[in-house]
């Protein structure tokens, strides 16, 4: 006969033996890594800088997904779609220009993803040049950054992965000047999807980097949306400010996706209003009628580039990345072959190769964690408080700027590790 102990397990906690075994063999995050400090936080969690106790003390960035709480009690509520994507995709890919996942640790109802560490990111470089140096990014650096970005994107696209949230904050740079695309939290496989892309996520890509077909309400989209975002990032690197800095219209109470009037106007002001000749498919777009009611603009990208990207070929690359028709827009593969990259100065694998040491952006600042779930007791040395984060270093801002629309939240949501990739109005795909 079964004793009470066994009966109890069978009837009330059938996984008890398994759990006990697993927990006994578990090696905790803090037993493997020394948490050095807090880097940033975002929609889905918090990012820490950590040093491995093994392997010669390599530095890592550990992204801790927010545990879900029911009241004050942390409970298992199911892994978010975003975390599943990020884990699944990262386990398959391996490329010099993509942030490498070292391991995933599941512990105390939280998920920790251990990534290779990168000292800088595009947003930080832009701020460094606009705030500190007050000078544009040099042509050689600009070209190297864009080249490596496209190289990483080409890899993702050849794996049939859409990134769907490319923006300066998500593109990292190591201390050796190597570009690492980060944050695959919104990325997904488009190879033989079981569901149309639109069915999963109603809104993708942070508004300023969102391609016109998405703004026009397209139900289906392609790799071309990432190429548009690359154009936006390249323009931002060249001018040190977002090229299409529109205000996002929010979802209404019924979660309908609104017409993004302001963002489209910002695009049209530079690229002109698209017509059927530029983009035959535009007339079939759900928002075509709304678009027709907007003021009409002529293309002045050439003027825009004149003072910002002086090279003719640089202008040509940007022009082709900003082609309205997604089918004719430059692909990552063709972009990498563009003449601009073949003329001097050639792109370099250390993007900072030509930069004097004192002009290289400062190291990522780390702080004490204000929500000290990971951090040991405060260390008296590196006390910086949390008011100091903003400065010239754009990390750790987890709140919208006053008066801004929601879209700013993800823009300022910090580094690629932590932003969670979610455009703010995206209805969370999490189920559970």
């Amino acid at each position: 006969m079964l004793d009470e102990w066994s009966t109890n397990i069978l009837h009330h906690d059938p996984m008890k033996l398994y759990r006990a075994k697993r927990d006994a063999s578990h090696r905790s995050v803090t037993s493997k890594y020394n948490i050095l400090g807090f880097i940033s936080s975002g929609t889905y969690g918090r990012v820490y800088k950590a040093q491995s106790y093994g392997e010669e003390g390599t530095i890592h960035a550990i992204k801790k997904f927010k545990p879900d709480k029911e009241g004050d009690v942390v409970a298992y509520t199911g892994i978010s779609q975003s975390a599943v994507r990020e884990i699944a995709l990262n386990r398959e890919i391996n490329h010099e220009n993509i942030v490498a996942l070292k391991e995933v640790i599941l512990e105390d109802k939280s998920i920790y993803m251990v990534f290779e560490y990168a000292e800088h990111d595009f947003l930080q470089v832009i701020h460094h040049h606009s705030q500190t140096l007050r000078a544009p990014i040099s042509h050689a650096v600009l070209k190297s950054l864009v080249y490596q970005l496209i190289n990483g994107l080409l890899y993702l696209h050849s794996c049939h992965i859409l990134h769907r949230d490319l923006k300066p904050a998500n593109i990292l740079i190591t201390s050796k000047g190597v570009i690492k695309i980060g944050d695959l939290g919104l990325a997904r496989l488009v190879y033989e999807p079981l569901q149309p892309l639109f069915a999963g996520d109603k809104v993708v890509v942070t508004i300023w980097y969102r391609a016109p077909e998405l703004l026009m309400g397209a139900k289906h989209y392609t790799k071309a949306i990432d190429c548009w975002a690359v154009g936006c990032v390249m323009a931002e690197l060249a001018s040190l400010r977002p090229i299409f800095k529109g205000e996002e219209a929010k979802l209404d109470s019924k979660k309908n996706v609104p017409f993004q009037r302001d963002q489209l106007l910002k695009i049209f002001e530079v690229l002109g209003t698209p017509d059927e000749k530029d983009w035959p498919g535009v007339v079939d777009m759900p928002e075509y009628q709304s678009m027709k009611r907007l003021d009409h603009f002529a293309n002045r990208l050439s003027d825009w580039c004149h003072s910002r990207i002086r090279a003719t070929q640089g202008y040509d690359l940007l022009r082709q990345l900003f082609i309205y028709d997604p089918e004719r827009r430059l692909t990552a593969k063709d972009a990498l072959q563009h003449k601009w990259f073949q003329e001097e100065p050639k792109p370099t694998w250390n993007a900072f190769q030509s930069v004097p040491q004192h002009q290289i952006p400062p190291h990522r600042r780390i702080t004490q964690d204000e929500a000290p779930s990971m951090m040991p007791a405060p260390q008296n040395t590196s006390h910086q408080g949390h008011g100091h984060i903003a400065g010239g270093v754009p990390f750790g801002q987890s709140h919208s700027k006053p008066g801004s629309s929601n879209s700013f939240a993800s823009q300022s949501g910090g580094a690629a590790y932590a932003s969670g990739g979610a455009p703010p109005s995206r209805k969370k795909a999490r189920l559970g």
Binding site: L2, D3, W5, S6, I9, L10, H11, H12, P14, M15, L17, Y18, R19, K21, R22, A75, Y76, T77, G78, I79, Q81, V84, I87, A88, L89, N90, R91, E92, I93, N94, V104, L106, K109, I111, C159, H160, I161, R188, L189, V190, Y191, E192, P193, L194, Q195, P196, L197, G200, K219, H220, T222, A429, L431, G432
Partner: protein, 427 residues
């Protein structure tokens, strides 16, 4: 990665050998009365995943992914130390997300509970607590080492086989070839072999191959072999049922098969009989003068090991033989395929003729056992009590294993002795 199997986690970390498989069942073997029950449990659990998946309106690929997750989990764990029903629910929950077709955890828990508590499964204490499944999902991801992208034979089948008549049944007969808008099966090259050419397969044959692939998940094949080889073995077996060189034979034997309530098509929109007839007739009546393709030669020309394909085919047949002793419902597709495959010499094209006109399980029984239709004449394929292996029986087998394991684990000194005795008795 999505196209390159050789670079995938699936190939690098999750194709194992038989020794590893045996090692994984070592602990279970200490507690099970008959080692063969473990193979039946493998069928039973896969059937449960399929049933639950259909209840949740999963596409076949989601069901297959959930099953692979389940198999991989039990490479590292024992049935007797876990609750497979909890694991099944968590596998379905996670697979839905991994395949970008998420469903709410509440729905999984409710449907699992409703299904497992049915009389024929007899699992009374499945928790209604969402947290239990969410916790299991957590451990599951850990045991799966985060490798959540799985390759399946379906892709090979669809990319390898071009239907002879693609206009007559664009969305009913080809499984799930009709994917999301604008993203076609042609998007990317085949990841193995020469990547050249396509096989011309009648719709009904394609459907049979698809069904055989579904059935392979009842075994451990998905852990042992790359998916494209399983697909080719399934096509190979399909040729036994649909002899390619004899359009007349294929024609007469096709219709009852196409009439099956197909596992792949939960949607009622399908009109199998009509479309499959059209599809089948089209080639035989309207074939162009060009020389018909020799499918066997086509398979032979693929850049794969044919002996290996043949041995996989043999393993599939063994699965059917085993499965034939297992009885879940009155009608079973597997049972039919089992009849046909186990009764036909591998080289013979004659067996489909045997079933011409047969339309039901009972008729097939007569083909297999030679008895009268409807009679339970397969008395050589029964469990010790003289019955088929049933889900309820397997639930009780599992229950006994779990109890025995717990007795050993219970915090009592006598338990240690018991385990020792058992081990000694086992030799």
């Amino acid at each position: 990665m999505a196209t390159d199997f050789w670079e995938s986690s699936h190939y690098k970390r999750w194709i194992v050998d038989r020794a590893t498989l045996a090692q994984a069942r070592y602990d279970d073997l200490q507690y099970v009365d008959d080692p063969e029950y473990l193979d039946f449990l493998a069928i039973y659990f896969a059937n449960l995943i399929t049933k639950l998946g259909k209840k949740l309106q999963f596409r076949q690929r989601v069901i297959a992914t959930a099953t692979v997750f389940f198999r991989r989990f039990y490479l590292k764990n024992s049935y007797c130390e876990t609750d497979p029903f909890t694991v099944i629910a968590a596998c379905c929950y996670l697979a839905a997300k991994a395949e970008e077709s998420p469903i709410h955890i509440k729905v999984i828990v409710a449907e699992s509970r409703a299904m497992f508590s049915q009389e024929n499964y007899n699992v009374k204490n499945f928790s209604s607590d969402n947290g239990k499944i969410a916790e299991m999902e957590f451990y599951l991801v850990d045991d799966l080492e985060g490798d959540l992208i799985v390759f399946h034979p379906y892709r090979t089948l669809l990319s390898l086989c071009r239907k002879e008549s693609s206009t007559s049944s664009s969305n009913s007969e080809e499984g799930e070839a009709d994917e999301g808008p604008g993203v076609g099966i042609e998007d990317g090259p085949r990841y193995w072999g020469t990547g050249e050419g396509q096989l011309e397969l009648p719709s009904a044959a394609l459907q049979t191959a698809w069904s055989i692939i579904n059935d392979t998940y009842r075994s451990q094949l998905c852990l042992l072999h790359p998916p494209h080889l399983i697909a080719i073995a399934s096509i190979y077996l399909t040729f036994i049922l649909h002899p390619p060189a004899r359009p007349d034979a294929a024609h007469t034997s096709d219709h009852d098969h196409a009439n099956e309530p197909s596992p792949e098509h939960p949607t009622p929109a399908r009109q199998p009989r009509r479309s499959s007839r059209q599809a089948n007739q089209a080639p035989s009546h309207a074939t162009s003068p060009k020389k018909p393709q020799d499918p066997i030669a086509f398979l032979a020309d693929l850049n794969v090991s044919l002996p290996l394909v043949a041995s996989i085919a043999q393993e599939i047949i063994s699965l059917y033989t085993l499965w034939d002793q297992y009885k879940e419902d009155v009608s079973s597709e597997a049972s039919k395929l089992a009849r046909e495959l186990t009764n036909s010499p591998m080289s013979s094209g004659a067996s489909p003729l045997k079933r011409a006109g047969s339309r039901s399980e009972s008729a097939l029984t007569s083909v297999g056992g030679g008895g009268t239709p409807g009679a339970e004449s397969r008395d050589d394929t029964v469990d010790p009590e003289g019955n088929y292996i049933t889900p309820a029986f397997l639930s009780s087998v599992l229950q006994r294993m779990r109890e025995a394991k717990l007795m050993d684990m219970a915090p009592r000194p006598v338990a240690v002795n018991k385990r020792l005795e058992r081990t000694l008795a086992a030799g």
